[in-house]
Amino acid sequence: MNRGPFIFIGAFILIASTWALLVQLPVMQGGNLEAYEVDGVLQPDALPGLAQKGREVYQELGCVQCHTQQVRLTSGSDLARNWGSRQSVARDYIGEEVAFLGSVRIGPDLSNVGYRRPDPDWHLRHFYNPRMVLEGTRNYSFSNMPSFSFLYDKREIVGEPSDKALKLEGEYAVEEGYEVVPSLKAEALVAYMLSLKVDYDLPEAPDPVKIDPAR
């Protein structure tokens, strides 16, 4: 081990071959999946335009720092929490140029948030101030999600109040004569939230029925 080239080439061979085996090989084997046809519709299907825009907002705000978009089957309580009905598999993400799998759950998983929270109005108010929406609901104790009020415009009411204006009450109300309306970014983000649902089955995706004959 006295010579530099020996160390350099040895390290190169080790690092390059583990990369080839554990990163490049899986990508070549399984990283060129195609959409699967379920009842004549290709799944996963493309996102609507506004939701596509919402993906960019999701990335820009770093939502992935607290929220995952992957459901586990054989570990954790993901299914019991109604976060999904089956294991997430690679094919679920093929349309995503930038995937948001995430690695930390300070908040809940969002793979199926479009199912759990189908009401756009709820999302608009929740992004404005999560505590405003959750306070008073059953079992509410705390929420450490940041407020995204910077995605909303506070403006003076000119003429008729906008029909998009948030209904703010009590301590959250703004001064008389003003209203808070969501910006395009907020609406795009909500459209993205509503589009997040895995409502199809894939042949390779394990679900509880397939591995537990008792069910």
């Binding site: 081990m1 006295n2 899986p26 084997q29 399984g30 004549g40 089957l73 054989t74 294991q87 598999v89 390779e204 995706a205 394990p206 029925v209 397939k210 591995i211 537990d212 004959p213």
Partner: protein
């Protein structure tokens, strides 16, 4: 903290070097050359390698899921259950030709003839109320679906001049029967169904021919 502070009064300064750089390189090179064992290190090196070897042997046998790129389960028990799972066979009963036909129509026909069979003025003839659809026992429409039709045609008094490709290669006899039945029974059309046997007979009769023209069909 005071004690530590006093210590630091004594200690701070410069950390003395206890070995010169070149002697560090030389002495250690000598250790490697002379292959001198270092007892606790030797023991733990061997221990570490053995533990890791045993562990990876166990893990390689147990959790590698046959290197299957489509396998998302790691546990052998789960994998066995997953592989032996067969979806319960649902006996759907006899297929309703109208339901099956509607689906086939939506994917194969509606782009031109429109979802309500109204066609597109001047371009694609309508199916709703068309005499080509309702006349006879349905063999006319079955022939068109199988082989296609091109050239001038008059439908409900309007003339069209287009081209429709045959779908015989893409659709099975049953499919053609279903879609023909659907067209003959929808949007105000009310004529009897077309059977699979009928389609099969027509297919064998007209095997090998190209697209029809309206005149050829009328001649029959």
């Amino acid at each position: 903290m005071d004690e530590h502070f006093e210590d630091s009064q004594k200690q701070a300064g410069v950390d003395e070097g206890q070995a010169s750089d070149s002697s560090i390189v030389r002495a250690h090179a000598q250790i490697r050359r002379e292959k001198v064992a270092g007892s606790p290190v030797a023991f733990f090196t061997a221990l570490g390698l053995i533990v890791v070897l045993v562990f990876s042997w166990f893990y390689f046998r147990r959790y590698m899921a046959d290197y299957d790129p489509n396998m998302y389960l790691h546990d052998r028990g789960d994998i066995a259950l997953y592989k032996s799972y067969e979806p319960p066979v649902v006996d759907a009963g006899p297929v309703d030709p109208m339901v099956a036909g509607a689906k086939l129509y939506a994917t194969n026909c509606a782009a031109c003839h429109q979802p309500e069979g109204q066609g597109m003025a001047g371009m694609f003839p309508p199916l709703a109320g068309s005499e080509w659809v309702t006349e006879g026992d349905g063999s006319l429409i079955a022939k068109i679906v199988i082989s296609g039709i091109s050239g001038p045609i008059t439908v409900m008094g309007e003339s069209y001049n287009g081209m429709m490709p045959g779908l015989g290669a893409a659709l099975s006899d049953a499919d053609i029967a279903h879609v023909a039945t659907y067209i003959r029974g929808s949007w105000g059309n009310d004529t009897p169904e077309v059977t699979e046997e009928q389609v099969a007979a027509i297919r064998s009769e007209t095997a090998g021919r190209g697209v029809w023209t309206a005149a050829e069909l009328r001649a029959q």
